[in-house]
């Protein structure tokens, strides 16, 4: 079956521009997570959606970052006024529900801010 998909696969932008990253989770998965992986760093948790509950935004590094999940499926991560330190791979993962433990990751979006 189809796995988690993300788009675009690569994004190059200029400092100060806004970017939108998209994640399509596995159908039927209620939990969706965004992580960031900077060069040489481990994955860093950003935000978590579970069903219709309010998202857990505790990992967002600044108020320039926001995310939404429409209809309990597709999610969009938005970064406003991008900075060079935002350059990283942004990974999305989904799981059947939080108790399922196993997370299925997408291929990631590689963001480069010039």
């Amino acid at each position: 079956g189809a796995g988690v998909s993300q788009s675009p696969s690569n994004k190059v932008t200029e400092k100060g521009k806004d970017v939108e990253l998209r994640c399509d989770p596995i159908s039927g998965h209620t939990a969706l997570y965004w992580y960031r992986q900077s060069l040489g760093q481990g994955l860093e948790f950003l935000i978590y959606f579970q069903g219709n509950s309010a998202p857990d935004k505790s990992g967002l590094p600044s108020d320039r970052f926001s995310a939404e999940r429409t209809g309990g499926s597709v999610s969009t991560l938005t970064i406003q006024r991008t900075q060079q330190e935002d350059s990283a791979v942004y990974l999305c993962a989904s799981s059947l529900d939080p108790r399922a433990k196993t997370q299925y990751f997408g291929p990631g979006t590689r963001l480069l801010v010039l």
């Binding site: 988690v4 939990a31 997570y33 992580y35 040489g40 760093q41 481990g42 994955l43 860093e44 948790f45 978590y48 579970q50 857990d56 505790s58 990992g59 990974l91 993962a93 799981s95 939080p98 399922a100 433990k101 196993t102 997370q103 299925y104 990751f105 997408g106 291929p107 990631g108």
Partner: protein
């Protein structure tokens, strides 16, 4: 603060040998720990989960141990193959919500 540490240096071994990767954590009492594999340019792929009441878990050539006293997990790949070359990540769930904290990963290179 909560911290997870993995061997930062790459591990180079000869094909057929056993690879052993280490994951240490501090200031944390996880109910379970996971191991993922990540290939260049790809997202992590789940390999194994071990719970706090399990000492050892096996899956084919993979074996994971979990010592909650030492706050350490060991990940073993027996009869290693060049196809096992990848970065291996350990991860803990700090609040049982699936919000994983990952180690930096250890890169394994298996030479033929």
């Amino acid at each position: 603060s909560q911290k997870i540490e993995q061997n930062s240096e790459a591990l180079n071994i000869q094909e057929g040998k056993t690879a052993t990767l280490t994951c240490n954590y501090t200031n944390y009492s996880p109910a379970y720990l996971q191991w993922y594999r990540q290939d260049p340019g790809r997202g992590p792929v789940f390999l194994l989960l071990i719970r706090e009441n399990e000492k050892e878990k096996r899956k084919e050539r993979l074996k994971v141990t979990f010592d909650t006293t030492l706050k350490q997990s060991l990940f073993h790949i027996t009869a290693s193959q060049p196809a096992d070359s990848a970065t291996y990540l350990c991860a803990l769930d700090r609040s049982n919500t699936g919000k994983l904290i990952f180690g930096q990963g250890t890169t394994l290179q298996v030479k033929p």
